[in-house]
Structure formats: C-alpha cells, structure tokens
C-alpha cells in the first residue's frame, strides 16, 4: 500500500497531466472509431440498426464506383505528393539564405493559403477555371489561339485541374519545417565542403539532402495521409464529376453517408481507407527510414 502511495506521490502529477489528452482521445477518437467499426457491420438506422455481417464490405468491393474512387485517389496522391514536396523543398532552399525579415515575409505569404477559407480559395479557382473566355486560364490560352478548355467539365482534365490547385496552395507548413531543418545543419559541414571545392550540387546531394531526410520522411508520410483523405477541393469544385472522374474515396464516403444515409457502407469504406493509409505509412517507414540520419 505504501508502495502505491509512494508511486502516486512521485508520479501522480504525470498521470493527472496526461489524463486530459487521454480522455479527449478516448471520447473523440477511440470511441467514434469503435462505433464506426460496429456500424460497418450494420445496416445503420437511427432507431433500429441491423447486424448484416460483411454485407457492406461485399457491396463495397462489388461497386465499380468504389474502385474508380480508389484509382482516382491513387492518381491524386502520386500526382501531387512528390511534386509538392519538390516545390516545397525548392522554395525553402530559395528562402533560407535571405534575411530573417524576408524569410518571415515568405513564410507568412506561403502559409496564407493554408489558413484561408477553402470556399474563398474555391471562388478564386472557379474564376481561373471558368470554362468560357472570361476564365483566367482560357484567357491566357486564347492569346495563343487555343480554344477554351472545360477544365472541370471534362473527364480527362478535371482531376488534373484539382491536382494543379494543390501545386500552388499546400506549401506553408512544409516550408516552415524545411527552413527549421535547414537551420539545424551545421555550417561547418559546408565550410569543409568549400575547402574541398565542392560544387553547389555536390553540397546539396551530400550534405543538405541526407540531413533533411527526417523532415522529408515526415512530410511524405503526412502528405500521403492527407492526400488519401482529399475531400474539400472535390466537394467545392466538382462534386466528384464529371462521370466520377474526380470522385475520391473520401468524397465517396461522404456521399454514401450524408447523401444516401448508407452509414454502414460509408463506415466500411472508411476502414478500408484507414487500412490502406496504415499500410502505406508502414511501407514508407520501412523502405525510407533505414538511411535517415537523425
């Protein structure tokens, strides 16, 4: 008994402090996840849910729209994550040598789209993608005699158009992390390289890039998770159309749950999405973290 008393006297405060986030996690994360897991085996009805075993999963795997949404999500991820990381890194390297004041300006400028309302951003992009000659992109193409393009109205251009938006707006947080990481690389390494007459490229390849790998791995994992969950731009710009060309798995989940009230099916889809994200994250850590230098 005294042992317990002693333990609580020594460590009780720690448990008190962690109790708050643990309770929040249990109530707002673990409980909803478990409830959704149960729901994925039910024909959900607010008053009388029915247990239907694996029917929702069966229905999901037989649905061609589900597979199309999976493919779109995959294409979106492959088409946005690497290029966005490359752009973010490039911008961070360009900003890093500048004065603190200039750095602060660029950090704020690139972070601005992240904190702006999605609806406001969508309005701007609607104007850019306007299908008539009054749209910014079509106006520009018109200068070269190119006919108007229905950016969001054609199956072959709509997903690309959504991806294109991300190339301009998703760099704020990444730039801040990369700038912090760049600041943490010892200057002596570059000085030693200078003594050896190393080229700029050689310095980047042999010093900067290896030492940025932990940050790159973190950004890669989080970016892939977020791109698998892409929803807002689809919801605001195309509602999954035309002909499901921009329907992603997160948008499909939303449609099934809140438009058709098929909450069980939506829950099943959520678990498959969650499973894929976990697998992708494990794979990234397994294949990329081996040569990360901390």
């Amino acid at each position: 008994m005294d042992k317990w008393k002693q333990f609580f006297r020594d460590y009780g405060w720690c448990y008190l402090f962690i109790a708050v986030p643990v309770i929040l996690f249990l109530v707002f994360t673990l409980y909803p996840v478990l409830a959704a897991l149960v729901m994925s085996f039910q024909k959900y009805h607010v008053l009388n849910p029915k247990w239907i075993g694996f029917d929702n999963y069966r229905m999901m795997f037989q649905d061609e729209v589900f597979w199309k949404a999976m493919w779109n999500t995959f294409v979106f991820t492959v088409g946005t994550v690497p290029l966005n990381l490359f752009i973010t890194l490039g911008l961070a390297i360009l900003i890093f040598p500048r004065s603190t004041r200039t750095q602060t300006f660029f950090k704020a400028a690139f972070y601005l789209p992240t904190v702006m309302s999605g609806v406001t951003l969508a309005l701007v992009w609607f104007w850019i993608y306007d299908p008539t000659e009054s749209g910014l992109l079509n106006m520009f193409l018109g200068l070269f005699g190119i006919e108007n393009v229905m950016w969001l109205g054609k199956s072959n251009s709509s997903l690309f158009s959504i991806m294109f938006m991300t190339y301009f707006i998703n760099h704020g947080a990444g730039i801040i992390l990369y700038l912090a990481a760049l600041g943490g690389i010892p200057k002596s390494l570059y000085e030693a390289a200078d003594i050896d007459h190393a080229s700029e490229w050689s310095k980047f390849k042999n010093i900067t890039w290896p030492l940025l790998k932990p940050t790159t791995l973190y950004l890669l994992v989080t970016s892939i998770i977020l791109s698998f969950q892409v929803f807002m731009s689809i919801y605001l710009m195309t509602q999954g159309g035309p002909n499901f060309a921009t329907t992603t798995i997160a948008y499909l989940i939303y449609e099934h749950a809140f438009v058709y009230y098929k909450f069980g099916l939506a829950a099943a889809e959520s678990f498959v999405l969650g499973f894929i994200i976990i697998l992708a994250s494990i794979a990234q850590f397994k294949f990329m973290s081996s040569d990360v230098e901390y």
């Binding site: 405060w13 008190l16 109790a19 708050v20 309770i23 929040l24 109530v27 959900y44 009805h45 607010v46 008053l47 009388n48 729209v65 609607f126 993608y129 306007d130 299908p131 008539t132 108007n148 229905m150 950016w151 969001l152 109205g153 054609k154 199956s155 195309t238 509602q239 159309g241 035309p242 002909n243 499901f244 449609e255 809140f258 438009v259 058709y260 009230y261 909450f263």
Partner: protein, 448 residues
Amino acid sequence: MKKALLTLLSAAMVMVAGCSSQEPTATTNPASGEKDVVTVWTYPVHNDYEPELKKLLESFQSKNPNIEVKYEVLSWAEGPKKFDIALNAGNPPDIYFDKPLGKYVDTGLLVDIKDMIGDKANNYEPVAIDYMKYEDGLYGLPLYMFLHVWGGNKALMEKEGIDYVKIQKEGWTWKEFKEIAQKVTKKNEKGEDQYGLVFQGSGNTSDELLNHLALNNGLPYRVTKDGQFTWNDDKILDTMKYIRELSDAGILPKETAAIDPKKRMELFYNNQAVFMGRAIPYFDQMMKTRNADIDAGKVQGQKVEFVLLPIPHNEGEKQVAVGGAEGYMLFKQKETTDAHLQNSLKVLEHLTGDEAAQASITLGLPPVQKKARETYQPIISKENDEAAKVLAGYVLPPAGISVETGAADDQFKAEVILPTVQTLLNGETTPEQALETFQSKGKMIFGK
C-alpha cells in the same frame, strides 16, 4: 497548486462530458410548467424571409405564451448537411423546412401528421398537399408551390422580334424553339458570344435540362407508381439527341458541362443569353431589385428584364412544367412526448397558415393557402404573373411512388443519370451510348 490542477482537470472532464452528451433540441416535458421549447430550422426561402418569419413567430407566441420557438435560418449550402447529421444522430429539430423525401420517412423520425391535423389539410391547394405526401402518409404542410421553367431576356427578345407573349400563352415546340434560338445565336455588338440557351450543366444539377425536356417528350415520370422505369426507350434517346443538336448548333454553349447556376446567371446578366433555364417566377423580383441596385450605383452591370417562358415540348406531346411544393415537416427525437409533438404541430400549422402566405407571393406564385389565395395580389409583372398561372396549370401531380422505389430512383439519379448526362453534355458520350447505360443500369436498379 494541487487544488488548481484538480480544478483544471475537473473542468476538462466536465467539458468532455458536456460535449459527449447531446443537448436535446427541445424540452420534452411541458407538463412541468416550464415553457415548451420548439426548434425550427429553416432556409432563406427568399431574400426577406427572416423578418417575415420573425413576425410570424411573434404572432404565434402572443397566442401561445406557453410555447417558446427557437429558430435558425440555415444556409442553402451547408444547412442540409447539418440537418442530415442531426437526423441520423436521432436529434433533428422539431420542425424543418424541405419537402418530404423517402430517406427522411425511412428514418422513422418524420411524423405522419395526417391523423393529427384532421380536416385542416383542406385549407391548402390539393396539389400542394399531394406533394407533401408519401404513400398513405402526410409528412408536412406546404408553404408554397415552386415552378421550374425557362426564362428569357426581354430586351433581346424584343430586339429579335420574338413574340414572347404568344409563347407564354401557347407554348412552343422543340422545332420552334430551335429555329428561334438558332436565329439569335451569334456574336453580339460587343463581339461576345450570344447564346440561344444557357442552362446549368455541372455538378448535382446537371440532369435538369434532360429532365425538363424528357417531361415534355411524353415521359411524365421516370418511374411510375407501379415501379415501371420509363427512361429506356426511343423517347429518352430522342430527348438526348435533341440536347446534342442544340449543343452542336452552338445554341447551348459547348462549355455547358462546366456551367454552374452562378455562371448561367452571369451570362444572362451579361446579355449573352437570350433564353435560360432553369428559371423561376422569383427571378422577376430578383432582377427588378438588381436593376434598382444598378440605378443606385450599388451594383455594376447591365440591367436585364426577365420574362417567364414555358419549356418547349416535342411535337405531339403535352406541355409540362416542373413543379412541386415545399414546406415544413414535423420530426420527433428519440424520446419525444405527445404533448411536445402537439405543441410542435401548432407551430408547424402557424408557419404554413394564412399568415405565412407572403412567402409564396414574394416568390411570384399564388399562395397555397386557399383563404390567402382569394385576396392574392401579385407583385411580379402582369405578364409574368399570368404566365406563371398558366404554367402552374401544367405541373403534374406527384408520381405517388413508394419509399423503396423513391430510394431506387435517387440511386439511379446519382449513380447513372448525373454522370451520364455530364458526359453527354461534354461530348464524351453519344446519346446512343447514354441510352445503353440507362437501359443496363435501369435493369440492375429497378429490375425491369
């Protein structure tokens, strides 16, 4: 220090507990002597609806001091989502503005008021009441009837010598429409494209043009009362071919698949569209207000006068206007008392009663409340008012399908019609391919 930390922790736990228990939307025990609180979620059904609603509720509360009404005016964009979540959590508002949908009925929380209101349903236009029914149940009372047709730019029509009054009275066939629209499709004086017809073709409303024309090609119901799917023959094929003809002729902008309702209005306001769809009688008022704002320097742009027009029909087929009714519905929560339901019903009746007729008048249509209809004075232009009355006569009664068939039809619309029409409009699918899709998917979903 210890005390402070414990207080902090307790506060956090209380917060968590508070958040996790859902606050009921209504007080369910009026017998205790406290005021019974009735919750109303509604929408800005026209620009000045909220002051109208406030006045209505004030008059209600002066007569019913034991009932407190809490209302919320939701946005059209986000409101339905908020309601869907509340409904599926078993905690909807007591009264909600919309039309009865199969998915609402299916939750078991939408209340059938047929036996609760007795013969009060007779106070409303029968067609409007029919639109609030599902199978044998009455799931709400109408606030107004809506009319979805086409419209025209008065100045441009006059300039082109189009006799729109005759069209309003007698209607027009597809052939007549195409001839007129072809004539007015050209470059305008500013060198901009002037289109014969602009119609929204993107997103979740991309099926409306096909719906409007199919109704006017002898296909009054996509699914009949006995569950028969009808969009699987030459009639729907001809309708889709007609849309392609309009697009190929440049009458419809070739970008229609990417034109949303906002862009459609922009083209109309910019005098780049002679005809437009979908149009409602309220556009008369909207454009008058906009013209006044332009005169006052509040808005920049060109003034436009609006003329309400019928949807063209195929030769030999009946002219049809799209219409229906919207109003207030009564919902129960998981634990609602009969007394609370009765109080909520009183609010519902008041929100759709004679005093509420102004909403319908502002929207440019005669009230659905019989008494108010007797003294109805239109506020839209005389020609549009007369056209609206004529066109309202072409609205079909509801199909009267079952909840199950309604759900299948919703599925068909979302999974087949919308994507197919989007590709028909952007030229990726031919009408013949679209018909094949309708036939095969129709068989899968409707089983016939």
